[in-house]
């Protein structure tokens, strides 16, 4: 579904890209830096940042108001192009628009494609509860059910908390449905981005935020295409600063979020030898966020070992790479370890430690490939990841070696393109590639010298924290001497010499077997829920379908009419709509709460029951009419003849249909995942969100379905035989 979605967005972007150059009243595609009119894209609806007020055409919101004021101060004009968030981002990345302001979080991935302003808004995850709820803190959530929106940062954060606070979770694909679930009392709380939640409450949603503490804090920024529109970025930063200084900024934020301002609790520094170390949020294999939210990776392991051996403590400050460097350069944090390459530019602001890692660009090929030398790439297709340094490097040598290029937006897809043989090689940062290979990507790195090598080092602000730097250097030397350094490297990158079995808890075994065994409980519970739903749905839907079918062959026209109406409605309604209607609509109408299981069961029973009813009636109709005549001629009344003669023969005719319907019911349970019931399919979705191993996870899920269907079919045939048909 995600894939499809992206595919759709891509197509849309292409279409827009084709159309826009022909419209002459826009400034799209102008590369000149010095201009005073800009095209800014934004999300068409992301309250309280960007949205359209009722009946008004104009866009308002924190983003829009800030932009307006900044433009005023900095003396430029702009037109706003609202579109879907993904499109808005892509349009800027393609250079078709100048900038994007859309509640867009600053992330390392994005900083590869965009240049970003100073952060203009702090955000983070909060949880909200019903107005009358007594829940005050995470601790109170223990054993309760919490609503999450699939695939959001807030959901990921909640999952980290889950281990510690032991609450149950239920998933939704839509915020409103999630909020509703809390209001209805099905769940006790939901997790959401703070400003979004705050605004929803501000505008009347019957929830409250018991604790303003921000989880997973991050920032929103204004983005322009990398290397372009630096003037605009400058103007934005300058304007923003002025707004913050003259109090206008606070006014704007207050306008939308009320008096409860975004106060982020200041963290305290210890009085022991303690440092704040900035690092990237995620940069495998150097910084990896593990399942439990803890950071691991080469950098982290080195830092931890050194801090132990050198006797200091530290607080890790994961943030975007750019923020990490900046906060150290201006002294907010004491040091940075973040796969930071030593450059002359950086030497001006930082003091570097001795280098602890050499990195460079390499190319990798399929394990079975005959390609040994870069010259072998001639006329072959090479896979690159858009916006990466390795891609830039590959492009720079393309002419020389005469290969063709194919772009991907995501590493995993790029690797797989090589694995399946569509491309012969891909370019990547050496440690990243080695880490991926170690984690099961079926590629190999032919013998070569890494290009554009860079050296990674730990850094502190220039002229400051000499003691920390010294401690790091001494510690690093000791690590290398003791062999611990090589162990750490081998743990993440593997090596020919490396046969040690030390597997960090950081590494997830992402092979099919590994996925299965390390997530056994998840799969089992998903399968269990699927089976539970299937068995109950089959039993009840069959009984209901029989009743319907009998109504359908009734002598009474009125009863036949009821049959036709029920079949018409429930065979006609899409299962998904029915599920939503029952789970969300019904409690609204009746005031009676209903669990996802009950709602799912009812949905399936009504839908499958209608299909069953139709073929049951069909089965009865298919019995030779002479059978009924013979019985009637003997003086047996219609109903008794139906029961004694027609139904037994009809049932026999419909057995294949029943088995078929059982299988359909099993498969249809997957649709119930939409209302948040964590059955097998939903389990797969959650696992993919975490592991990114779509192919393997859905492969496993598909296999489990097939096995269950085989067992189900076999069981049905067995029962059929036992019943003596």
């Amino acid at each position: 579904m995600r894939k499809k979605y992206y595919f759709f967005i891509t197509i849309l972007t292409i279409i827009v890209g084709l159309i826009i150059p022909f419209s002459n009243n826009t400034n799209f595609g102008v590369a000149a830096d010095e201009k005073s009119h800009y095209t800014i894209t934004t999300d068409s609806t992301y309250p309280p940042f960007d949205f359209q007020k009722e009946k008004q055409k104009e866009y308002v919101g924190i983003d829009m108001d800030l932009l307006k004021e900044i433009a005023k101060i900095e003396n430029f004009t702009y037109s706003v192009k609202p579109m879907s968030f993904n499109m808005a981002a892509q349009t800027v990345a393609n250079g078709q628009a100048d900038g994007i302001i859309a509640g867009m979080a600053i992330t390392p991935e994005r900083e590869k494609i965009y240049d970003v302003s100073t952060p203009y808004f702090k955000t983070g995850v909060v949880f909200a509860v019903a107005k009358n709820s007594k829940i005050k803190s995470y601790e109170d959530l223990k054993g309760k059910k919490v609503a999450l929106k699939t695939g959001t940062a807030a959901a990921n954060y909640a999952l980290e908390l889950q281990k510690k606070y032991n609450f149950d979770v239920t998933y939704f694909n839509d915020s409103n449905i999630m909020y509703n679930d809390v209001i209805e009392g099905n769940s006790v709380a939901c997790f959401e981005d703070q400003p979004v939640m705050q605004y929803a409450i501000q505008t009347g949603l019957k929830l409250k935020i018991p604790d303003q503490k921000l989880g997973n804090a991050g920032s929103y920024g204004f983005f322009v295409k990398k290397g372009q529109n630096s003037q605009l970025l400058k103007k934005f930063n300058r304007g923003l600063k002025k707004l913050q200084d003259n109090g206008k900024y606070d006014q704007i934020v207050d306008r939308y979020l009320g008096s409860a301002k975004n106060s982020v609790t200041k963290e305290k520094k210890g009085n022991l030898p303690h440092y704040n170390i900035a690092t990237d949020v995620t940069f495998p294999p150097f910084e990896i966020q593990a399942k439990n939210g803890k950071y691991t990776g080469i950098d982290m392991d080195i830092l931890e070992s050194i801090s132990k051996s050198q006797g200091f403590t530290y607080t890790l400050k994961p943030m975007s790479f750019n923020s990490a460097t900046q906060t150290v350069a201006n002294g907010q944090n004491d040091g940075i370890i973040s796969g930071l390459t030593v450059t002359d530019e950086r030497r001006k602001v930082f003091d570097f430690s001795n280098t602890y890692f050499r990195s460079g660009f390499i190319w990798a090929v399929n394990k079975d490939a005959k390609i040994k030398n870069i010259k072998d790439l001639k006329n072959q297709t090479v896979a690159l990841k858009t916006g990466t340094g390795s891609a830039d490097y590959a492009k720079s040598i393309q002419k020389k070696y005469g290969f063709k290029i194919k772009y991907f937006n995501d590493s995993n897809t790029m690797y797989n393109d090589v694995v399946v043989g569509n491309s012969v090689a891909c370019f990547e940062d050496e440690p990243v590639m080695r880490y991926a290979i170690k984690n099961g990507i079926n590629l190999t790195i032919p013998k070569q010298t890494p290009a554009n090598t860079g050296e990674y080092a730990f850094a502190v602000q220039k002229g400051k924290n000499a003691a920390l730097l010294k401690a790091f250097n001494i510690g690093l030397k000791e690590l290398k001497k003791s062999g611990k350094y090589d162990q750490i490297k081998a743990k993440y990158l593997g090596s020919k010499a490396d046969t040690n079995k030390e597997v960090g808890n950081t590494k997830e075994d992402n092979s099919v077997w590994g996925l299965l065994s390390s997530n056994r409980e998840m799969f089992l519970s998903g399968l269990g829920n699927t089976m539970l739903l299937t068995v109950f749905a089959i039993l009840i839907a069959s009984v209901w379908g029989l009743i319907l079918g009998i109504m359908g062959v009734s002598e009474n026209r009125f009863v036949r009419g009821i049959y036709s109406t029920i079949i018409y409605i429930f065979r006609g309604l899409p299962l998904l709509v029915l599920a939503f209607f029952i789970y969300i609509g019904l409690p609204n109408l009746t005031g009676v709460k209903i669990s996802t299981f009950a709602a799912g069961l009812l949905t399936l029973v009504l839908n499958e029951g209608a299909y069953t009813g139709a073929f049951v009636k069909g089965g009865f109709d298919a019995v030779d009419p002479g059978q009924m005549e013979a019985a009637r001629a003997l003086g047996v009344p219609y109903n008794q003849a139906m029961r004694g003669i027609i139904m037994p023969q009809g049932l026999k005719i419909m057995i294949p249909s029943f088995i078929n319907q059982f299988i359909i019911t099993l498969k249809d349970t997957s649709i119930i995942s939409a209302i948040g019931f964590v059955e097998l399919t939903q389990t797969g979705q959650l696992l993919v969100a975490r592991t990114q191993k779509g192919f393997a996870v859905y492969g496993i899920v598909a296999l489990i379905y097939l096995i269950v269907i085989t067992v189900l079919t076999w069981l049905s045939k067995f029962i059929e035989k036992r019943l003596g048909f």
């Binding site: 002479g626 013979a630 001629a633 003997l634 003086g635 047996v636 003669i645 023969q649």
Partner: protein, 248 residues
């Protein structure tokens, strides 16, 4: 002309299927112990009339009285009347989900007209008379056509009907099976059963029938003794029809 009890009295019966008028004023009397054979071209309405007698077909006009009960009256409990009219179909219509003896006992047991013992005992006697005593437990699918039709007759007799209706009982049978079925019917006639039989078995009709009626285009064109109908029919169309059959 007959001082015996009137069993069936049909008067001016009309029946249409949509625009197709199939019965156009049929009147017929059948007395106790009488065997009436109905002949006539295909589509002339013989089956429709036979089925109207036990109301498997509802009539549009006229009346049919069986044992002094007006079966065409909607207020009549038709199930009661049907219990006294046995019917044998061209295609047997045996209950496929029941074995031989259960086919026979199904109706009396379902209608609670007999105890299981009574029903089985009577069924066994009937199986002997139709020559199927050894097939009591067989599924009906394992019977030959002739056996099936004899079983169908036994099933119709179980409830002790006053009247038996036969609609081409031998038409679906291989020639060598026809004799056995006709013998069973002959014996029934001998025992004095009142019967209406649609058949083209002319030999059988000559031998057994008290009267032969000739049906054509929804009316009865001739109603006479077999000797007259077969040797010197008054009606031209009857003559043509009989010639065609005899010379076939």
């Amino acid at each position: 002309m007959n001082d015996k009890v009137l069993k069936i009295h049909a008067e001016n019966v009309y029946k249409s299927f949509g625009k197709n008028e199939v019965l156009k004023g049929v009147s017929l009397d059948v007395h106790e112990n009488e065997v009436v054979v109905m002949i006539g071209p295909s589509g002339s309405g013989k089956s429709t009339f036979l089925r109207a007698i036990n109301q498997l077909e509802k009539i549009d006009k006229g009346s049919i009285i069986v044992d002094n009960v007006d079966v065409s009256d909607p207020k009549t409990n038709i199930n009661k009347v049907r219990q006294r009219i046995g019917m044998v179909f061209q295609n047997f219509n045996l209950f496929n989900n029941k074995n031989v003896i259960d086919n026979i006992t199904y109706a009396p047991l379902t209608l609670k007209k007999m105890t299981p013992d009574e029903a089985v005992e009577k069924a066994r006697r009937l199986l002997v008379t139709v020559g199927l005593a050894d097939r009591e437990k067989s599924p009906v699918s394992q019977l030959s056509g002739g056996q099936k039709q004899r079983l169908a007759i036994a099933r119709a007799l179980e409830m002790g009907p006053d009247v038996m209706l036969f609609d081409e009982p031998t038409s679906a049978l291989d020639p060598e099976m026809v004799g056995d079925v006709l013998n069973v019917m002959r014996n029934l006639a001998k025992q004095g059963m009142t019967m209406i039989i649609v058949t083209h078995e002319m030999g059988f009709a000559r031998q057994v029938a008290d009267r032969v009626v000739f049906f054509d285009q929804g009316v009865i064109l001739e109603d006479d003794s077999p000797e007259i109908i077969f040797n010197q029919p008054k009606n031209v169309r009857a003559k043509e029809f009989i010639n065609k059959i005899i010379n076939a």
